[in-house]
Amino acid sequence: MTATAGKVTMAKALNAALRDSLAADERVIVFGEDVGQLGGVFRITDGLLADFGDKRCFDTPLAEAGIVGFAVGLAMSGLRPVVEMQFDAFAYPAFEQITSHVAKLRNRTRGQLSVPIVIRVPYAGGIGGVEHHCDSSEAYYAHTPGLKVVMPATVADAYSLLREAIADPDPVVFMEPKKLYFASEEVTLPATMPGFGRAVVRRPGRDATLVTYGAAVPVALEAAEAARDEGWDLEVIDLRTIVPFDDETVTASVRRTGRCVVIQEAQGFAGVGAEIAARVQERCFHSLHAPVLRVAGLDIPYPAPKLEHIHLPGVDRILDAVARLQWDDQPDPTWVAA
């Protein structure tokens, strides 16, 4: 077990989680493109080949359907594959394997076969990446029954949730926010945080609830800080896992605050934020003083680096939404006009 304390980056925590899983369970096997000698383009698998040998950590041909399908076969043989998709958009070639096999194999066989695979997907933008390197693709997976969708936002969660994902009997799409890879926190590893399906209140507040996950969590927290100047005390909920979903924590918060803004980095239309908004108004209708608003990426292909700041939900856009939560009991002119 890697015992680490002090400032740790998310990249390091993920590496430690892989390392500790490999050490703890000989069925664990890590592979993908460039994960061996290079240690991954983000160095998440750094040193694993050297320390565990090329039967436990290895490179594959460049073929994502192949990687995921290979993992299915390995899982059938009793192993626990952890695969890396190099970037979000480069998981799309594996879409059929993920939706038609990974997600469904347990169901198709009434539980006689299971597919405990972890598919690690570095996702989202904010890193000045060129096209195809910054998609937020969680909605595709969250909409697919049979997959668990895990979205850590903190260093401790990155470690703890990845360990849990690898130990989980079900397939997990594990979305890693690239722009937070090298953000560091004071943590002690190994860390055990709340499990799948438990959201966490990252910042308590009374006036409104910001519900968010993954890459958008630090932005929401920043917005909540900034909102103090406007006299708003905002609660920030980090969902941590999208599937399973923690209705309880979200519902309790919104019933208390009466106002809610959902924040995601992905393009908004038919995204996970839509699901959250729909759920919240279903369950908290009588507590709401204003509609549940959404702040999301624009409904455009992820833009080039120079304009990504326009696309990404930033502090100002979040505060604008908070301002529209009918604090003075006036209906929102945005929609009234329509």
Binding site: A63, G66, L113
Partner: protein, 389 residues
């Protein structure tokens, strides 16, 4: 019908393996013509005239092959009949392809893994799986009716070519854990055009995984003829592009198919990497009962292939070799009839599937969201019952 898993396992052609030991380094290209050990009239092709020599499987094995082919065809005809009676939603027949269906499963051990497509029902019953369990999918009760882990047989795969990659992974995983399992993948000619075929064969080749890719080239993918799938001399030529051994065989010559597959399996098991086998065959029935084959092929063509019947061919050969007589043929026919009768009876039952089981195997444990939906469905069912009461 008495084909128990045990009976079929017992008959696995272990005896054959030593004889079939291949040259370590297989040639770069497949035989320029399909390998054939019996001619169309069921006579043994003399080894000197054979395009490539393969040891003939033992006679006992060939008798068992004959038996399973006859039972398999009877099963297939029965299944087609069940669609007409509305007992099956759909059935993709493999009539005419019995040499491939049966040799495929006879070439491997019970401990090996088989990766079938939707067309491999005959292969599955030949492996010993209860035919009712095989037909669960097609009756519409659930997706996979048999226990894939117990039978070491993946669920029948519909998304084309996706199973090739699973087989590569399975075979590598088994080897990784020190087991000498071989994975045998069935795949159609049309499915070789899918990207997953490429990725599956390539992964197996790069990782030297013991996989036999067994292409049943039945000349059509539903209506699409082979000429729309490839411009290659034939599909077996794809092997060289992956650096793996390959062979083509007359898919209606049961002796050749079994011999070539036995060699391929042995090649894979003994560490020489994957093997690609293409069998030239023909499906006599439409793609499924829902298909209208008259739209895309002539009866003449079908007639021609009816004349190449693999069962008749083997029967002639075995009779000629004194390994089969009227009594034995009749016994097998009777066994096949009994098998079909038993199946008919058992398919008359209409098992009830518990609606709430829908929520059982989405995840190992249902999520809170699924529990909510389960409660809702339970309430609906209760209300409906009340309404009826």
């Amino acid at each position: 019908m008495t084909t128990t898993p045990q009976a079929i396992r017992r008959a696995s052609p272990r005896t054959n393996r030593a004889a079939a030991r291949p040259e370590p380094a297989a040639p770069l290209l497949p035989s320029p013509e399909p390998v054939r050990l019996l001619d169309e009239a069921g006579r043994r092709v003399s080894p000197e005239c054979a395009v490539r020599d393969y040891p003939e499987p033992p006679t006992e094995t060939l008798r068992e092959l004959y038996r399973r082919m006859v039972i398999g065809r009877r099963f297939d005809v029965q299944a087609t009949a069940l669609t007409k009676q509305g007992r099956l939603a759909v059935y993709p027949s493999s009539r005419g392809q019995e040499a491939c269906q049966v040799s495929g499963v006879m070439a491997v051990r019970p401990t090996d893994w088989v990766f079938p497509t939707y067309r491999e029902s005959v292969a599955l019953v030949s492996r010993g799986i209860d035919p009712v369990e095989v037909l669960t999918l097609l009756r519409g009760d659930w997706h996979c009716g048999y226990d894939p882990a117990a039978w070491r047989t993946a669920p029948q795969c519909t998304p084309l070519a996706t199973q090739t990659v699973h087989a590569a992974g399975l075979a590598y995983g088994e080897a990784h854990q020190g087991r000498d399992t071989v994975a045998l993948v069935f795949i159609g000619d049309g499915a070789t055009s899918e990207g997953d075929f490429h990725e599956g064969v390539n992964f197996a080749a790069v990782f030297r995984a013991p996989v036999v890719f067994f292409v049943q080239n039945n000349r059509y993918a539903i209506s699409v003829p082979l000429s729309r799938q490839t411009a290659a001399p034939t599909l077996a030529y794809k092997g060289v592009g992956y650096g793996i051994a390959s062979e083509q065989v007359d898919g209606n010559d049961p002796v050749a198919v079994l011999a070539v597959l036995a060699n391929a399996v042995e090649h894979a098991r003994s560490g020489h990497g994957p093997f690609l086998v293409e069998a030239h065959t023909y499906r006599l029935e439409p793609h499924t009962n829902a298909d209208d084959a008259s739209r895309y092929r002539s009866m003449d063509e079908v007639e021609t292939w009816l004349g190449r019947d693999p069962i008749a061919r083997l029967e002639t050969y075995l009779r000629g070799a004194g390994a089969l007589d009227d009594a034995a043929v009749d016994a097998v026919a009777a066994e096949a009839e009994a098998y079909a009768a038993d199946l008919r009876t058992r398919m008359n039952a209409d098992p009830v599937v518990d609606p709430l089981s829908l929520f059982d195997h989405v995840y190992a444990q249902p999520t809170p969201q699924l529990l909510e939906q389960r409660a809702q469905v339970r309430a609906e069912l209760a209300a409906a019952e009340e309404g009826e009461a």
